[in-house]
């Protein structure tokens, strides 16, 4: 059953060397939990971006926590490229596993369904097939003769995201952000931060249940108000574009990044 814990206790459940799956900006990124994880001095994370990331990945990379990175892109969106990602790729600071968005979903889907691989349309002709030797091109075993790409299952050790609310049983409201459910189905353990915990049962009506990730998939929940800041949380608050632009500017240099990181962690401690 889902445990409701403090933010530090939740962060402590992510261990060095684990694979950690995180959602796209705006879908519910657990930035407060990321600060708490950075505080633990974690290392050697295998980061899986579902299917891309921005500030969260760049912070973890810049802080030296990431050993390998599977993603379809890292970008700060309007604020431009992700500086620590770009620098890290060039210096070979981590193993880069370039992907394409639906291939990451396909890998998670294979894990959700307990199969070793998932076929996926398209991709043929892309150099991604050369840099991803774990992807294969096979002859379709059924139907007309044709080539199909298959990708291996992705079973993250931990999935981590932020959502507006959970109930006391651990059911989490995700609205139509079903990519968060995709993450949880595939992951061995799922950690969630929420703006608040509500007293009503989110599964009570057929309508409210439709937008809920059941507690069955949720290992631990911590409350973190404005827990996605400076990123957006749907239905709750927009992104703090100025803060993200400030990050983009500072993180251009290693020193600037360190200064930002230190201020970010301090800010988070003050909020908590």
């Amino acid at each position: 059953m889902t445990e409701i814990v403090g933010l530090e206790a939740l962060a402590a459940r992510v261990g060095p060397g684990q694979s950690l799956a995180i959602p796209v900006d705006g879908s519910g990124v657990a930035m407060a939990a990321t600060a708490a994880i950075l505080e633990t001095g974690i290392s050697d994370l295998k980061l899986i971006c579902v299917p891309i990331s921005g500030l969260q990945a760049d912070l973890l990379i810049g802080a030296g926590c990431v050993a390998s990175l599977e993603t379809s892109a890292v970008s700060l969106g309007e604020a431009g490229g992700a500086p620590r990602f770009t620098a890290g790729v060039k210096s070979g600071a981590f193993t880069m596993r370039d992907s394409t968005c639906p291939a990451i979903y396909a890998g998670l889907l294979a894990a959700q369904k307990g199969v070793p691989f998932m076929p996926i349309a398209g991709i043929i002709g892309s150099d991604l097939l050369n840099v991803r030797p774990d992807w294969q091109v096979i002859d379709s075993p059924v139907g007309e003769a044709r080539k199909v790409v298959v990708v291996p299952a992705i079973s993250p050790d931990v999935a981590l995201f932020h959502a507006p609310e959970a109930d006391r049983a651990g059911n989490v409201r995700i609205g139509r952000h079903r990519e968060l459910a995709d993450l949880a189905y595939a992951a061995k353990r799922t950690l969630v931060t929420v703006e608040r915990i509500v007293d009503r049962n989110l599964l009570e009506s057929e309508d409210s249940a439709a937008g809920v990730l059941p507690s069955l998939y949720v290992d631990a929940i911590a409350v973190a108000e404005r827990g996605a800041w400076p990123l957006a949380l749907w239905d709750e608050y927009p992104a703090d574009e100025a803060e993200i632009a400030r990050y983009a500017a500072m993180a251009r240099s290693e020193d600037g990044f360190r200064a930002y990181l230190s201020a970010f962690l301090t800010h988070r401690k003050q909020v908590a």
Binding site: V50, A73, V74, A82, V89, S91, C101, S126, E179, D182
Partner: protein, 247 residues
Amino acid sequence: MSADRERREILIATIADLLDGIRHVAVGASSPIPAAGAMLLRARNELCGKPPVRISILGSQAHNFFTNGGIELFDCAAQGRVDAFFLGGGQIDGQGNINLVGTGDYPTSHVRWPGSFGSAYLYHLIPRVILFREEHSPRVFVPKVDFVSARAITPEVPRRGGPYALLTNMALFDFDREAGGFALRSVHPPFTPADIMENTGFAYREPEVVCETKRPDAATLALLRGRIFDELAETYPAFARTMMRAA
């Protein structure tokens, strides 16, 4: 500023023309010009009583018809329910291949871009992919991309998707899937065919007479500067503001 607005208005109107006949167009995040082009087509169809156009803008709450999470756009494309999409590229080559990864040796690229996003997949599945890249220079339009994020033509597998046209700040090219390359369709004023030649690093076919890209007519401009920029403001407030201020 006004020249910039005029340039953008030509791009938007050209995109609306390129989309003519489609039922559903998807627009990626941070793409105000493609979004405006799609909205222009939708408004025009509505006014002429032509079939309605559905626009999905990724990351927008108002223009989001999806309820199955991040995968739905991709599934939808695989089902043949998305007719048009836009892709860019740090490099685009004469065979229509695009590179969103970086230049130089992989993985420790000389220049590294964000990554391939959904391009490797969507290029196969969406019939009318419009390559849209404002910068028109030899460093973007290269003979051969350093990394193929998505390949334009793959005779080894059946596909319905691929490049349809390439639109830049200077010109509009058609993509010929049979010939496997681009053909110059029109040049935006004030540029000349010679400007295009000079700034394009790949070979392309050029007709004997090169047209000038059509400027939007008065009715189109009125629609654009009124209703379209209003609609756009919901998703791209800063862009819409700039365009309206320039007017």
